[in-house]
Symmetry: C2
Subunit: 771 residues, 2 copies
């Protein structure tokens, strides 16, 4: 098959870089000193054996991170980051991940290495068998497997451009077989660039040790390899399968999956899929953890791998049986070279880089030149390779110290802004937290539309779609439309006997002006029917004169074609978060403010308050920065202050009239302080609207007065997309993990299966004055 | 109590014209010649005995229209109009409503007047008792009852301005008692202006007849009045109630509700409510049908009544017991005056009009001067009164002919645009039809937000909220959000094995340009992610060159920040309307077109086609006018035509590329022509999205090819707010009453209670070429 010819055809051009990717990555849990953790696998990561993203590999300390299959490298790395974030913040607060392929110092006694405590007895026994065959120490080596599938459209296009092979499945197999054989032959190039296990730590080698550092212990015969007798053919799938089954029959492998080849042909999740469905993808296995990358592998490595595999499909292979075995030989040489030594195959490597670059130009691939600059630099200067860099760093102190310090940086990164989910920080905060919780709970999370915060959640056969973390299948459509329409909401609440501010809706200023007398005598509010962060709202606490009234109407009509004028209800506004007929959180919001210390100006106090990591912009942090714009200046002026004024110690200066979090307000959890009768009002009102998930705003003059007293409360509005993060990361008070409650509401089977295993480790950040 | 003083207080000003109103109106069904109908009450008006809006009064032909309680006169008259429209189009097509209070010619034999065939035996017996006491002929007189309640805020404000009466309920009763006494005393004024039963038709009087015409037979002793012995006191509620119970005890009345007073004190729906709850409102009963008003009473009459009742509260009364009885005496005189005669009480009437005008000025009431101009005109010139006008008209032919001709006009008005619901023609067409059906089915319909098409439906205790006629509690929230997002919809459908156009979403032109090769070779579409009536869409049926591609992208990005490029699926687009897992309608839409006749220009043909009453603007008619704008001219030019071209006979000229109804397209019902396997695809796809009410668009190349053939169909999009009226009033083909199906879906109990009484009389308009 002349792949060179058909790959260069214009018709395949658009599909060359379409592919599907997956990563599996192992890492040991260690304590903050870099010693293997003594704790069990984190309990908060539920569905332990079956967790789709976070499992244990050989030992109890060895976590395995598994990304879902992704269609772009960007998405792959986003997900890999997210899984790491969840793992980090589900682990003991004094634990971190070891960033090297070679394990940290191991126990002296082999049996002190704890095999993963899996519930599935078969899986546990398999690990026992491995211990016996290879020893536990070797199994403690970690690495990365990179699953790769050419885009179906590419294969179809290539298939249509040839006539040699009539059967599509066979054609597909030929593609992967050629890549596999060529990979086996040429993989030493990978080992040179990205090998990163130069030195072992104490107790890894039981009897002997290496003479000095190398490029990759893991990639050499000292890594875990099968016995020399294990040999399989890659000439066809039939031969491959029959050789493998022979190895098992002869007892050289306990089962097929024990084949530790650097690359594997895959038919699906299980080995038997290969026979049933043919080759679907390949699994590249000889990738050492990249110590310098937070998640063990860089995006550029992914890009290189894709190009390398494409190159191997294009590149001629030798037509003799030992093509792959020759590669083992080359690779062993390169793996055991000193990390700072030039490689013996420098000339061949140079040729291959040139060829790859040629291919990029030939096929017009959108791969940046910097990749080749970087590869050539590593080739010319071995100290730039991963092994070289790690070796040089380790020389300054020790590899263990270097690894511990890197681990600490990664640890800090994950805990620094615990409300964020790495990889998805552009999404809305509530959705990030929601995804964190879903991943932690072992729910498969697929992002259907990232801009739109649209998720698909899957737990076994149970699928739920969720938008914005709280728009779900549990709510009915018309109820959300009711909430969207304030007039309708009020009418319905009123009809059911709840107190709502009396008011009227107007479509023209004239209409509203005629009704001046209806409102002028008492406190009232003028507001656009649809309000946006409080724009266009005027509050008249002592009634209004004609002129003020007219001005307020003009302001409101700027924002909407319908304006509501309603009674102003005195008291404090509380947000009740109601889910499935229960109040899960009550929040008090306080307008943007600073507290004086008798020394700093208001401007300085604002800047200091804004420095808190929980404050930021655009709803990507739990609280927003306090602004010092026109409105804030006006508000200060009204109190006789300017931004240069220095308030007295303890004095609280408000910078806004409205209490929205979005304009720098503070959030205070008061769930435990609000009496039950008011919670009942909230629950009943939400139920009358037919809603399951709702943020409902009550004004209460005095929470000590029973709720059934006349005019004890007023309901201002009900929100169908209530903010959740402000309850989860309040400025003061207890965190209420609403995202987790919603997940359990959507997937009640999680609570049943966990029984009473309580969700212990959800990260909470304390902020502001409580720090 | 000095009501003059407290009514003039500034604090009550805003509330003076706040009130609650209700109308009950009787009308006989007659045939197109003006003879009493011989048919039964219409079967399509379900819940016969208990229908909230349309019932039978005394006889089977005598319909009674009952509005709900309304807070403005505008709303009251809107609803009254709607009820009439429903009644008209539920009646036999050859029946209409008699516009006079006096019945048309009655049967010679009294027993040929059919008592209403009510299922409730108690109600039927009551009518039998009435026949015996008064004779059936008298019971055939029709009229209007006007229920009136002062605004609660007005009464509260008045109550707070006095200290004489301590009990609020008692104060309220005093208000209504004073108005009632004064009304009895002064009601002759009403009789003068609005009396409208000057002549009786054949067989109304059995033994004697009147000497010539009068103002109001109905308002005189020849109307139905109780025996002279029936007398009740209006000095207090206690006296009123005890007098009434005495009348019943003495056998003068069969029960309390038989009191035929011109005004009644009401405590609620039942008589006993008065004792239990006190006076809540008053019922003005001496109103003749206004023959010149489609609905039997004019808005101005309503305005007059409100003012008159306010005036009667303000006006001093005589403090002696016969105050009311004196009124009977005056009224009898005025009622029996000749319709063209000046009234005996002209001076008193003038004084009262002056006083009312004074009151308007004193209280600053927003009532226009024209009312007083009009009243004075009627006073000076009796031929301008209702009785006068009717008498003069009747002189030209006969009263019966005048009434028949008026009835025909009203009949025509209701049938002319049968897709509209009178009183609500500003609302969306689907909502108008939906409301029609709901009212016909006896569901209480409350408009929560008119602009927003938001309805509350109530049938006994069962409440449903509906927006736009198809957004209901039956659909879940996230499913509608899925449909709102085309990318997500396609992903989910694709994941479930449905064929959707392959495509990608882009956020920038550059991004999209880079993917040129992915699409350029095959037919494809460039469109904004959110499309509005086809704006910004470019279709490339034979692929596209670089330049066209770039232009299409620029157009699409003008409409949305996200643009979708997808495969173009060849075939015909069909809209499937799916409800509760069943396809109820399939529609084919054809782009705006005209058919040539070899004589007229395209412009003339368009104008002629637009003259069809089913075409109009802004979705208030089943079809939209064909435009002759830039796009249509371009389209013509592309075919070598201009608007002045004369197409050959039978030639079809398309004026648009897109087939939207909103741009003048034609709708053709093909429900019965589409094979079941395609309907199953539609139902299954909708079910995968979790939707109950959905308009889903399938492209089918050839409906004769089975749906399971490869690429037999493609799903373009799913709509959560699908237009319904286009299925109900298609340009060609069968009407599909989707609104009724949705009502039955929301209220399945309707079908259970009707058992197999099929809904026969839903109006269907045939249009266009089929006429």
């Amino acid at each position: 098959m002349d792949f060179k010819k058909i790959l260069a055809n214009d018709r395949v051009k658009s599909y060359l870089l379409k592919a599907r990717y997956g990563i599996e990555k192992e890492s040991h849990r260690v304590d903050l000193s870099g010693n293997l953790a003594k704790t069990d696998h984190p309990k908060s990561i539920t569905l332990k054996d079956d967790h789709p993203y976070i499992q244990r590999d050989f030992s109890e300390t060895q976590m395995e991170f598994i990304t879902p299959v992704m269609e772009t490298l960007e998405d792959l790395f986003h997900y890999l980051a997210a899984i790491h974030d969840v793992a980090y913040r589900s682990m003991d607060e004094n634990e971190m991940l070891w960033p090297l392929s070679m394990p940290p110092q191991l126990p002296e006694k082999e049996e002190d290495i704890a095999i993963a405590k899996l519930e599935n007895i078969k899986k546990f026994r398999y690990r026992q068998t491995l211990s016996q065959s290879y020893g536990r120490r070797k199994q403690m080596v970690s690495g990365i497997h990179f699953n790769f599938e050419f885009g179906e459209e590419l294969i179809q296009a290539l298939f249509s451009l040839q006539s040699e092979i009539k059967d599509y499945q066979q054609f597909k197999a030929e593609i992967y077989l050629k890549v596999t054989r060529n990979y086996l032959h040429n993989r030493w190039l990978m080992t040179y660039f990205y090998g990163a296990s130069p030195i072992s730590e104490k107790n890894f080698f039981e009897y002997h040790s290496l003479n000095g550092a190398v490029r990759s212990i893991r990639g050499s015969k000292y890594g875990y390899v099968n016995s020399d007798e294990v040999k399989v053919s890659y000439s066809s799938i039939q031969n491959y399968l029959s050789d493998l089954s022979l190895m098992v029959k002869r007892g050289l492998l306990s089962e097929e999956k024990e084949l530790y080849a650097p690359i594997r042909l895959r038919g699906g999740h299980h080995f038997s899929d290969l026979e049933d469905h043919g080759v679907q993808y390949i699994e590249v296995r000889n990738i050492d953890l990249n110590p310098f990358e937070t998640y063990g592998i860089s995006y550029e490595q992914g890009e290189f791998l894709h190009l390398f595999l494409l190159y191997l499909l294009w590149k001629d292979e030798g037509h003799y049986d030992e093509w792959g075995e020759m590669g083992d030989f080359y690779n062993e040489i390169v793996a055991l070279e000193h990390p700072l030594a030039h490689t013996q195959f420098e000339r061949e490597a140079k040729t291959m880089i040139d060829e790859m670059e040629h291919l990029v130009n030939l096929l017009d691939l959108p791969i940046s030149d910097t990749l080749f600059v970087y590869l050539r630099e590593m080739l010319m200067n071995p100290s730039k390779t991963l092994a070289g860099r790690l070796y040089i760093e380790s020389e300054k102190s020790s590899q263990s110290q270097v690894a511990t310090s890197i681990a600490k940086q990664n640890y800090k990164k994950s805990w620094d802004k615990p409300y964020q989910l790495a990889g998805f920080t552009d999404m809305e905060l509530s959705t990030q937290i929601f995804m964190f919780d879903a991943i932690q709970q072992g729910i498969q999370v697929e992002i259907l539309d990232r801009q739109d915060q649209f998720l698909k959640l899957k737990l076994k056969d149970h699928v739920e779609y969720v938008k914005n973390g709280n728009m779900t299948s549990k709510d009915n459509y018309v109820s959300t439309l009711i909430m969207e329409n304030k007039t309708v909401t009020k009418k319905i609440l009123h009809q059911h006997g709840f107190r709502v501010p009396k008011g009227e809706e107007f479509q023209t200023i004239d209409q509203a002006l005629r009704s001046y007398h209806l409102f002028s005598a008492k406190p009232f509010v003028v507001k656009p029917k649809t309000t946006n962060y409080g724009l266009g709202i005027s509050i008249f606490k002592d009634g209004a004169n004609d002129e003020d009234y007219q001005r307020a109407l003009t302001l409101a009509f700027k924002e909407d074609s319908s304006v509501i004028i309603e009674e102003f209800i005195n008291g404090t506004e509380y947000r009740f978060f109601v889910l499935n007929d229960k109040v899960y959180a009550v929040l008090l919001r306080i307008p943007a403010n600073v507290q004086g210390d008798g020394k700093h100006t208001i401007e300085e106090l604002v800047m200091r308050k804004n420095r808190d990591p929980v404050r930021g912009r655009d709803h990507r942090t739990p609280l927003e920065n306090i602004q010092l714009g026109e409105l804030e200046n006006l508000m200060l002026k009204g109190q006789g202050y300017g931004i240069d004024s220095i308030p007295q110690e303890g004095e609280i200066i408000y910078l806004r009239e409205n209490s929205n979090i979005s304009t720098g307000g503070d959030s205070i959890d008061v769930t435990d302080q609000i009496p039950d009768d008011y919670k009942k009002i909230a629950v009943d009102a939400v139920s009358v609207l037919g809603v399951e998930i709702c943020g409902i705003d009550l004004i209460i003059e005095n929470t000590e007065v029973p709720a059934d007293h006349e005019n004890a409360y007023g309901i201002i509005e009900a929100n169908f997309n209530p903010s959740m993060y402000m309850h989860i990361y309040p400025y003061k008070g207890k965190s209420r993990r609403l995202t987790m409650h919603i997940i359990h509401y959507l997937f009640p089977e999680l609570l049943q299966s966990q029984e009473s295993k309580s969700v212990k480790r959800v990260p909470v950040v304390k902020s502001g004055s409580q720090r």
